[in-house]
């Protein structure tokens, strides 16, 4: 781990919802160019962690360092401007905008000439989106919406993409495609932080993984090691 530069460093992160203490001091590191996975059951605080990194939740404590800069007090739009982005759970495409508009909105902060090039790249990754670029995003199927959500995130030219449950509710055949895309993105030099319940698939493609339970990280290690870990096997791989 040491030889790689750390892109995202989360230190002692806490999240509260009113009186509920959802994330209780989580720390982890994401090295540049790697795929890191956080696995854990529903309600373990994975989504809250990602939201807290993006500053979408108000009550939080702790330090988030991205690219050497403390971003824990920055607004969400400022964080996106620094090259960190999140593909939210449940896709959340804008159903009333067209596919193209959704993608362009992903490039909201950019004014450069290369938007078109990136658009072509997204279409190359997901040819289905090109076919449907003038359709309202609400009419897409679940798998297509997930592709759109990933494509939209790519449009901001992020260095690090966080994905929250990208395989949720998709047909197994689509899930495979999504994981293939994630691997392809790493080849393109992107750094990826994955949050998944589909632990088996996620561990297979990642470098390093963390296990979260009731707001805390209880286990960490190389993904391959975790795949063979008895505790992980019992609780998450079935």
């Amino acid at each position: 781990m040491a030889e790689k530069e750390i892109l995202l460093n989360v230190e002692n992160l806490h999240v509260y919802y009113g009186v509920i203490h959802a994330v209780k001091g989580v720390s982890f590191k994401v090295p540049k160019g790697s795929i890191i996975t956080i696995i854990g059951a529903n309600g373990a605080g994975k989504t809250s962690t990602l939201k807290a990194i993006m500053n979408l939740v108000k009550q939080k404590k702790g330090k988030v360092i991205y690219n050497g800069e403390d971003i824990s007090k920055k607004g969400t739009h400022e964080i996106v401007a620094r090259g960190l982005t999140l593909v939210p759970e449940g896709r959340h495409v804008f159903p009333n905008l067209t596919v193209l508009e959704n993608l362009l909105l992903g490039a909201y902060l950019r004014n450069d000439k290369e938007i078109k090039k990136d658009l072509e790249f997204v279409y190359y990754l997901f040819p289905r989106l090109k076919e449907r670029k003038h359709q309202k995003a609400g009419t897409l199927s679940g798998g297509e919406q997930q592709m759109l959500a990933i494509g939209r995130a790519l449009m901001s030219r992020p260095d690090c993409i966080m994905m929250d449950e990208p395989s949720l509710g998709l047909a197994p055949i689509i899930v495979k495609q999504i994981f293939d895309i994630i691997l392809k993105l790493r080849e393109e030099g992107k750094t990826i932080l994955l949050v998944e319940q589909n632990a088996f698939q996620a561990l297979k493609i990642s470098d390093y993984a963390y296990v979260m339970e009731t707001g805390k990280i209880v286990l960490e290690g190389k993904a391959k090691d975790l795949l063979n870990d008895e505790r992980v096997k019992e609780a998450y791989l079935g």
Binding site: M54, L56, K58, G75, T76, H77, V80, A81, T85, L86, P88, H92, F94, P95, N96, L97, E101, L104, L105, G106, Y108, L109, R152, A153, S156
Partner: protein, 299 residues
Amino acid sequence: MDLSFIAQEIINGISLGALYALIAVGYTMVYGVIRLINFAHGDIMMVGCFIAYFLLLKLKLPWPLALILSAILTGFVGVLVDRIAYKPLRDRGAARIINLITAVGVSFFLESLFVVVLGGVPRAFPVPDIFNKEFCIGNVYISMATIATIIIGLICVSILFYIVYKTKIGMAMRAISVDFETTKLMGVNVDRIISFTFFLGSALAAISGFMWAIQFPSIDPYMGIIPGVKAFVAAVFGGIGSVIGAVVGGLIIGILEIFIVGFLPDLAQYRDALIFLILIFTLLVKPTGLFGEKLEEKV
């Protein structure tokens, strides 16, 4: 009943309807972006009127300057109202009905504040001379004020259309209306966009207030209620959230009102009640209004 009477009624109806439409567009804009029925919109219009009144009377500004300046100042009043009253609710993710109640509170606050500061006695709005001219085609009269309302209204609505459908900001506005959090993830500074929306909506209210005052030149702190309510009916009738709907709704309500008074004089006193009845029936037949998009809860 002769033809020129009908023509005159139609002209009057359009004149009133254009006013309603202009106010309704402001309502609809704010609703379209943050799903808040800004109950205080009529009162913002009143604020705009009083600002224009002081600019014209005390600073003796020429009217185009007074119009623009009042629009800008009122725009900032709108932003201020949002920051103080609505934004804290939004940040907490309060229920929509809480927003509505707060808007009712803001409405009462603005009215009473102006009563406390300026008194409740109506004042005469200094109508610039140019608007008092009248044209006459056959037996049909058209006032300059009417023409100005229609022209300025068209300009405002066109600008608005351009902003909402052709610019990046407009795209962000439409995105906010469906999904707040995800819009933030796109790198959009959501607070700024919402402030901008309030600015636009309130500036529109001020412009429509100015137009209202040159046609009905008596202004008082409660003047915003009736046009506010009617424009609101127009916005809902047309489908709240839809700019086209607001324009069409405004025109229909204006024409209907004039027609009721003109053709059914017995019911003239009941015109406000009838307007509301129409609203109620519209909502029953098509709960989202004529052009409103369907917002169905997913099961």
